[in-house]
Symmetry: C2
Subunit: 156 residues, 2 copies
DNA sequence: CTTATTGAGTACTAGAACAGTCCTAAATAC
DNA sequence: GTATTTAGGACTGTTCTAGTACTCAATAAG
Protein backbone atom coordinates (compact mmCIF):
# COMPACT_ATOMS: atom_id res chain seq x y z
CA UNK A 1 0.00 0.00 0.00
CA UNK A 2 1.16 3.50 -0.76
CA UNK A 3 0.23 6.39 1.42
CA UNK A 4 0.89 9.33 -0.85
CA UNK A 5 -0.57 9.53 -4.33
CA UNK A 6 1.79 10.13 -7.20
CA UNK A 7 0.48 13.67 -7.53
CA UNK A 8 1.11 14.43 -3.86
CA UNK A 9 4.61 13.10 -4.26
CA UNK A 10 5.12 15.28 -7.30
CA UNK A 11 3.64 18.21 -5.43
CA UNK A 12 6.29 17.93 -2.75
CA UNK A 13 8.97 17.73 -5.42
CA UNK A 14 7.70 20.85 -7.16
CA UNK A 15 7.34 22.74 -3.90
CA UNK A 16 10.83 21.69 -2.90
CA UNK A 17 12.14 23.00 -6.17
CA UNK A 18 10.55 26.35 -5.42
CA UNK A 19 12.06 26.24 -1.95
CA UNK A 20 15.50 25.76 -3.44
CA UNK A 21 15.51 29.32 -4.79
CA UNK A 22 12.85 31.18 -2.84
CA UNK A 23 13.83 34.63 -4.04
CA UNK A 24 13.16 33.85 -7.69
CA UNK A 25 9.83 33.62 -9.38
CA UNK A 26 9.56 30.56 -11.58
CA UNK A 27 6.95 29.69 -14.14
CA UNK A 28 5.34 26.30 -14.59
CA UNK A 29 7.29 25.39 -17.73
CA UNK A 30 10.64 25.97 -16.06
CA UNK A 31 9.63 23.99 -12.99
CA UNK A 32 8.56 21.15 -15.26
CA UNK A 33 12.01 21.10 -16.83
CA UNK A 34 13.79 21.28 -13.50
CA UNK A 35 11.78 18.44 -12.02
CA UNK A 36 11.52 16.38 -15.22
CA UNK A 37 7.79 16.14 -14.78
CA UNK A 38 5.17 16.66 -17.50
CA UNK A 39 4.41 20.32 -18.01
CA UNK A 40 0.64 19.99 -17.83
CA UNK A 41 0.85 18.01 -14.62
CA UNK A 42 3.13 20.56 -12.99
CA UNK A 43 0.74 23.31 -13.97
CA UNK A 44 -2.09 21.40 -12.35
CA UNK A 45 -0.10 20.89 -9.17
CA UNK A 46 0.84 24.54 -8.94
CA UNK A 47 -2.78 25.53 -9.25
CA UNK A 48 -3.61 23.27 -6.33
CA UNK A 49 -0.75 24.65 -4.26
CA UNK A 50 -1.84 28.19 -5.04
CA UNK A 51 -5.38 27.31 -4.07
CA UNK A 52 -4.06 26.04 -0.76
CA UNK A 53 -2.25 29.29 -0.14
CA UNK A 54 1.18 27.71 -0.18
CA UNK A 55 2.46 29.53 -3.26
CA UNK A 56 1.60 32.90 -4.74
CA UNK A 57 1.09 33.33 -8.45
CA UNK A 58 1.74 36.23 -10.80
CA UNK A 59 -0.15 36.11 -14.04
CA UNK A 60 0.81 37.50 -17.37
CA UNK A 61 4.10 37.68 -19.18
CA UNK A 62 7.09 37.12 -16.90
CA UNK A 63 4.68 35.73 -14.34
CA UNK A 64 5.23 32.64 -12.28
CA UNK A 65 5.11 31.16 -8.82
CA UNK A 66 6.97 31.54 -5.60
CA UNK A 67 6.47 30.29 -2.05
CA UNK A 68 3.94 32.24 -0.06
CA UNK A 69 5.93 31.71 3.12
CA UNK A 70 9.49 30.77 4.06
CA UNK A 71 10.18 27.12 3.25
CA UNK A 72 10.81 26.42 6.91
CA UNK A 73 7.25 27.47 7.66
CA UNK A 74 5.60 25.10 5.18
CA UNK A 75 5.07 21.54 6.32
CA UNK A 76 4.83 18.49 4.12
CA UNK A 77 1.41 17.87 5.63
CA UNK A 78 0.20 21.14 4.14
CA UNK A 79 1.55 20.34 0.72
CA UNK A 80 -0.04 16.93 0.74
CA UNK A 81 -3.33 18.29 2.03
CA UNK A 82 -3.38 20.91 -0.72
CA UNK A 83 -3.23 18.19 -3.34
CA UNK A 84 -4.78 15.08 -1.82
CA UNK A 85 -7.17 16.69 0.61
CA UNK A 86 -7.45 16.15 4.33
CA UNK A 87 -5.42 13.31 5.76
CA UNK A 88 -7.25 10.53 7.54
CA UNK A 89 -6.45 6.94 8.39
CA UNK A 90 -9.87 5.58 7.56
CA UNK A 91 -13.03 6.77 5.89
CA UNK A 92 -14.67 7.42 9.23
CA UNK A 93 -11.73 9.57 10.32
CA UNK A 94 -12.76 12.10 7.73
CA UNK A 95 -16.47 11.73 7.36
CA UNK A 96 -17.22 11.69 11.03
CA UNK A 97 -20.08 9.79 12.60
CA UNK A 98 -21.99 8.83 9.48
CA UNK A 99 -20.48 5.35 9.47
CA UNK A 100 -23.21 2.75 9.76
CA UNK A 101 -21.05 0.70 12.07
CA UNK A 102 -20.37 3.49 14.56
CA UNK A 103 -22.51 2.01 17.27
CA UNK A 104 -20.69 -1.28 17.60
CA UNK A 105 -17.31 -0.55 16.02
CA UNK A 106 -14.73 -0.79 18.74
CA UNK A 107 -11.82 0.05 16.47
CA UNK A 108 -12.94 3.55 15.60
CA UNK A 109 -11.79 5.38 18.74
CA UNK A 110 -8.32 3.96 18.29
CA UNK A 111 -7.71 5.24 14.78
CA UNK A 112 -7.35 8.70 16.20
CA UNK A 113 -4.11 7.70 17.86
CA UNK A 114 -2.68 6.39 14.62
CA UNK A 115 -4.10 9.34 12.73
CA UNK A 116 -2.34 11.76 15.02
CA UNK A 117 0.92 9.91 14.69
CA UNK A 118 0.79 10.09 10.92
CA UNK A 119 -0.25 13.72 10.98
CA UNK A 120 2.55 14.58 13.36
CA UNK A 121 5.07 12.85 11.17
CA UNK A 122 3.97 14.76 8.10
CA UNK A 123 3.55 18.03 9.93
CA UNK A 124 6.94 17.72 11.58
CA UNK A 125 8.89 17.99 8.37
CA UNK A 126 9.18 21.23 6.43
CA UNK A 127 9.99 22.02 2.85
CA UNK A 128 13.26 23.58 3.99
CA UNK A 129 14.39 20.18 5.25
CA UNK A 130 13.65 18.61 1.88
CA UNK A 131 15.95 20.80 -0.17
CA UNK A 132 19.26 19.51 -1.51
CA UNK A 133 21.03 22.05 0.70
CA UNK A 134 19.47 20.55 3.81
CA UNK A 135 20.31 17.11 2.52
CA UNK A 136 23.92 18.13 2.03
CA UNK A 137 24.15 19.57 5.53
CA UNK A 138 22.78 16.39 6.97
CA UNK A 139 25.15 14.31 4.89
CA UNK A 140 28.11 16.27 6.21
CA UNK A 141 27.16 15.42 9.77
CA UNK A 142 26.03 11.85 9.26
CA UNK A 143 27.94 10.27 6.40
CA UNK A 144 26.40 7.07 5.00
CA UNK A 145 27.97 3.65 5.39
CA UNK A 146 30.08 4.05 2.28
CA UNK A 147 31.57 7.20 3.68
CA UNK A 148 31.69 10.68 2.20
CA UNK A 149 34.44 9.79 -0.24
CA UNK A 150 32.00 8.89 -3.02
CA UNK A 151 29.58 11.68 -3.71
CA UNK A 152 26.81 9.21 -4.40
CA UNK A 153 25.67 9.07 -0.83
CA UNK A 154 24.26 12.54 -1.01
CA UNK A 155 21.97 11.67 -3.85
CA UNK A 156 20.86 8.21 -2.94
CA UNK B 1 -6.78 11.53 1.35
CA UNK B 2 -7.30 8.29 3.15
CA UNK B 3 -4.45 6.15 4.26
CA UNK B 4 -6.11 2.82 4.82
CA UNK B 5 -8.28 1.23 2.18
CA UNK B 6 -11.75 0.17 3.14
CA UNK B 7 -10.66 -3.44 3.02
CA UNK B 8 -7.75 -2.84 5.36
CA UNK B 9 -10.11 -1.09 7.73
CA UNK B 10 -12.51 -4.01 7.52
CA UNK B 11 -9.60 -6.38 8.05
CA UNK B 12 -8.78 -4.76 11.35
CA UNK B 13 -12.42 -4.94 12.37
CA UNK B 14 -12.63 -8.63 11.55
CA UNK B 15 -9.34 -9.39 13.28
CA UNK B 16 -10.48 -7.44 16.31
CA UNK B 17 -13.64 -9.48 16.41
CA UNK B 18 -11.56 -12.63 16.47
CA UNK B 19 -9.44 -11.10 19.22
CA UNK B 20 -12.53 -10.50 21.31
CA UNK B 21 -12.98 -14.23 21.86
CA UNK B 22 -9.63 -15.82 21.08
CA UNK B 23 -10.45 -19.23 22.50
CA UNK B 24 -13.34 -19.82 20.11
CA UNK B 25 -13.11 -20.81 16.51
CA UNK B 26 -15.41 -18.74 14.33
CA UNK B 27 -16.39 -19.26 10.74
CA UNK B 28 -16.61 -16.60 8.08
CA UNK B 29 -20.39 -16.41 8.06
CA UNK B 30 -20.59 -15.77 11.80
CA UNK B 31 -17.90 -13.13 11.64
CA UNK B 32 -19.79 -11.43 8.85
CA UNK B 33 -22.89 -11.26 11.03
CA UNK B 34 -20.98 -10.00 14.03
CA UNK B 35 -19.27 -7.24 12.09
CA UNK B 36 -22.22 -6.43 9.80
CA UNK B 37 -19.97 -6.77 6.78
CA UNK B 38 -20.81 -8.64 3.56
CA UNK B 39 -20.16 -12.32 3.89
CA UNK B 40 -18.15 -12.68 0.69
CA UNK B 41 -15.95 -9.75 1.64
CA UNK B 42 -15.26 -11.16 5.08
CA UNK B 43 -14.31 -14.47 3.52
CA UNK B 44 -11.89 -12.67 1.25
CA UNK B 45 -10.34 -10.80 4.13
CA UNK B 46 -9.91 -13.92 6.21
CA UNK B 47 -8.14 -15.62 3.35
CA UNK B 48 -5.72 -12.72 3.18
CA UNK B 49 -5.17 -12.78 6.92
CA UNK B 50 -4.59 -16.52 6.81
CA UNK B 51 -2.15 -16.04 3.97
CA UNK B 52 -0.28 -13.55 6.10
CA UNK B 53 -0.07 -16.02 8.95
CA UNK B 54 -2.16 -13.93 11.30
CA UNK B 55 -5.01 -16.38 11.62
CA UNK B 56 -5.17 -20.14 11.36
CA UNK B 57 -7.93 -21.85 9.47
CA UNK B 58 -9.66 -25.18 9.94
CA UNK B 59 -11.41 -26.51 6.92
CA UNK B 60 -14.44 -28.68 6.69
CA UNK B 61 -17.60 -28.85 8.71
CA UNK B 62 -17.30 -27.06 12.06
CA UNK B 63 -14.24 -25.35 10.69
CA UNK B 64 -13.38 -21.70 11.04
CA UNK B 65 -10.72 -19.24 11.99
CA UNK B 66 -8.87 -18.16 15.07
CA UNK B 67 -5.90 -15.93 15.76
CA UNK B 68 -2.57 -17.58 15.15
CA UNK B 69 -1.01 -15.67 18.04
CA UNK B 70 -2.20 -13.80 21.12
CA UNK B 71 -3.94 -10.58 20.16
CA UNK B 72 -1.33 -8.60 22.05
CA UNK B 73 1.32 -10.00 19.72
CA UNK B 74 -0.37 -8.93 16.50
CA UNK B 75 0.16 -5.36 15.41
CA UNK B 76 -2.16 -3.30 13.27
CA UNK B 77 0.70 -2.88 10.84
CA UNK B 78 0.71 -6.64 10.23
CA UNK B 79 -3.01 -6.76 9.62
CA UNK B 80 -2.84 -3.88 7.19
CA UNK B 81 0.17 -5.34 5.42
CA UNK B 82 -1.61 -8.68 5.01
CA UNK B 83 -4.41 -6.98 3.14
CA UNK B 84 -2.94 -3.91 1.48
CA UNK B 85 0.63 -5.06 1.05
CA UNK B 86 3.80 -3.42 2.26
CA UNK B 87 3.43 0.08 3.61
CA UNK B 88 5.30 2.86 1.88
CA UNK B 89 4.88 6.61 1.72
CA UNK B 90 5.63 6.92 -1.98
CA UNK B 91 5.98 4.68 -4.97
CA UNK B 92 9.77 4.81 -4.74
CA UNK B 93 9.64 3.76 -1.09
CA UNK B 94 8.44 0.38 -2.24
CA UNK B 95 9.89 -0.07 -5.69
CA UNK B 96 13.37 0.98 -4.74
CA UNK B 97 15.81 2.65 -7.09
CA UNK B 98 13.97 2.19 -10.37
CA UNK B 99 12.56 5.70 -10.22
CA UNK B 100 13.72 7.70 -13.21
CA UNK B 101 14.17 10.75 -11.05
CA UNK B 102 16.44 9.09 -8.52
CA UNK B 103 19.52 10.97 -9.61
CA UNK B 104 18.23 14.44 -8.99
CA UNK B 105 15.34 13.88 -6.58
CA UNK B 106 16.28 15.47 -3.30
CA UNK B 107 13.06 14.54 -1.57
CA UNK B 108 13.50 10.80 -1.76
CA UNK B 109 15.91 10.33 1.14
CA UNK B 110 13.56 12.17 3.45
CA UNK B 111 10.54 9.99 2.86
CA UNK B 112 12.18 7.30 4.91
CA UNK B 113 11.79 9.40 8.02
CA UNK B 114 8.09 9.84 7.42
CA UNK B 115 7.77 6.23 6.38
CA UNK B 116 9.29 5.09 9.65
CA UNK B 117 7.01 7.33 11.65
CA UNK B 118 3.93 5.89 10.02
CA UNK B 119 5.22 2.36 10.36
CA UNK B 120 5.99 2.89 14.00
CA UNK B 121 2.54 4.28 14.65
CA UNK B 122 0.89 1.28 13.04
CA UNK B 123 3.27 -1.23 14.56
CA UNK B 124 2.89 0.26 18.01
CA UNK B 125 -0.74 -0.69 18.36
CA UNK B 126 -1.91 -4.26 18.80
CA UNK B 127 -5.17 -6.02 18.19
CA UNK B 128 -5.57 -6.48 21.94
CA UNK B 129 -5.73 -2.72 22.35
CA UNK B 130 -8.48 -2.50 19.76
CA UNK B 131 -10.95 -4.77 21.50
CA UNK B 132 -13.99 -3.43 23.32
CA UNK B 133 -12.52 -4.75 26.55
CA UNK B 134 -9.42 -2.62 26.11
CA UNK B 135 -11.58 0.32 25.20
CA UNK B 136 -13.62 -0.15 28.35
CA UNK B 137 -10.52 -0.34 30.51
CA UNK B 138 -9.25 2.86 29.00
CA UNK B 139 -12.59 4.53 29.47
CA UNK B 140 -12.59 3.63 33.16
CA UNK B 141 -9.31 5.42 33.62
CA UNK B 142 -9.94 8.37 31.32
CA UNK B 143 -13.65 9.15 31.25
CA UNK B 144 -14.79 11.36 28.38
CA UNK B 145 -16.05 14.92 28.84
CA UNK B 146 -19.60 13.76 29.44
CA UNK B 147 -18.39 11.66 32.32
CA UNK B 148 -18.97 7.97 32.98
CA UNK B 149 -22.53 8.46 34.12
CA UNK B 150 -23.95 7.79 30.65
CA UNK B 151 -22.91 4.42 29.36
CA UNK B 152 -22.67 5.76 25.84
CA UNK B 153 -19.09 6.87 26.25
CA UNK B 154 -17.79 3.37 26.01
CA UNK B 155 -19.22 2.84 22.57
CA UNK B 156 -18.70 6.20 20.99
C1' DC C 1 -18.50 -44.28 2.08
C1' DT C 2 -21.43 -40.56 1.39
C1' DT C 3 -22.82 -36.10 2.20
C1' DA C 4 -23.00 -31.58 4.09
C1' DT C 5 -20.13 -27.97 5.58
C1' DT C 6 -16.37 -24.88 5.32
C1' DG C 7 -12.09 -22.76 3.68
C1' DA C 8 -8.67 -22.11 -0.69
C1' DG C 9 -7.91 -20.29 -4.86
C1' DT C 10 -9.05 -17.91 -8.86
C1' DA C 11 -11.58 -15.29 -12.10
C1' DC C 12 -14.62 -11.76 -13.10
C1' DT C 13 -17.27 -7.27 -13.13
C1' DA C 14 -18.96 -2.65 -12.04
C1' DG C 15 -17.64 1.42 -10.24
C1' DA C 16 -14.59 4.88 -8.55
C1' DA C 17 -10.38 7.17 -8.37
C1' DC C 18 -6.23 8.69 -10.48
C1' DA C 19 -3.10 10.69 -13.80
C1' DG C 20 -2.74 13.30 -17.46
C1' DT C 21 -4.26 16.43 -21.31
C1' DC C 22 -6.58 20.18 -23.50
C1' DC C 23 -9.26 24.35 -24.07
C1' DT C 24 -10.96 28.97 -23.06
C1' DA C 25 -10.79 33.09 -20.22
C1' DA C 26 -8.32 36.53 -17.54
C1' DA C 27 -4.30 39.14 -16.27
C1' DT C 28 0.10 41.29 -17.19
C1' DA C 29 4.52 43.11 -19.59
C1' DC C 30 6.29 45.17 -23.51
C1' DG D 1 -2.35 45.34 -29.48
C1' DT D 2 0.25 41.18 -28.86
C1' DA D 3 2.70 37.68 -26.63
C1' DT D 4 3.03 35.35 -22.40
C1' DT D 5 1.43 33.16 -18.36
C1' DT D 6 -1.82 31.61 -14.81
C1' DA D 7 -7.04 30.29 -13.60
C1' DG D 8 -10.56 27.31 -14.05
C1' DG D 9 -12.89 23.79 -16.04
C1' DA D 10 -13.94 19.78 -18.83
C1' DC D 11 -12.56 15.62 -20.58
C1' DT D 12 -10.41 10.91 -21.24
C1' DG D 13 -7.95 6.63 -20.78
C1' DT D 14 -6.03 3.78 -17.37
C1' DT D 15 -5.58 1.73 -13.04
C1' DC D 16 -7.21 0.38 -8.70
C1' DT D 17 -10.81 -1.00 -5.50
C1' DA D 18 -14.71 -3.40 -3.75
C1' DG D 19 -17.51 -6.89 -4.19
C1' DT D 20 -19.26 -11.35 -6.18
C1' DA D 21 -19.24 -15.98 -8.10
C1' DC D 22 -17.51 -20.32 -9.11
C1' DT D 23 -14.79 -24.55 -8.60
C1' DC D 24 -11.71 -27.42 -5.86
C1' DA D 25 -9.97 -29.40 -1.50
C1' DA D 26 -10.45 -30.76 3.27
C1' DT D 27 -13.00 -32.24 7.22
C1' DA D 28 -16.77 -34.00 10.36
C1' DA D 29 -20.83 -36.63 10.98
C1' DG D 30 -23.89 -40.21 9.97
Amino acid sequence: MIILSKLADYGVIVATQLAAEPERQTNAATLAEQTRLPRATVAKLLKALAHGGLVTASRGAAGGYRLARPAAAISIAEVVAAIDGAIGVTQCSIHGPDCTRTDFCSTKPHWKRINDAVGTALAGMTLAEMTPAALFAQWMKLPPKSGPKDGQGAVQ
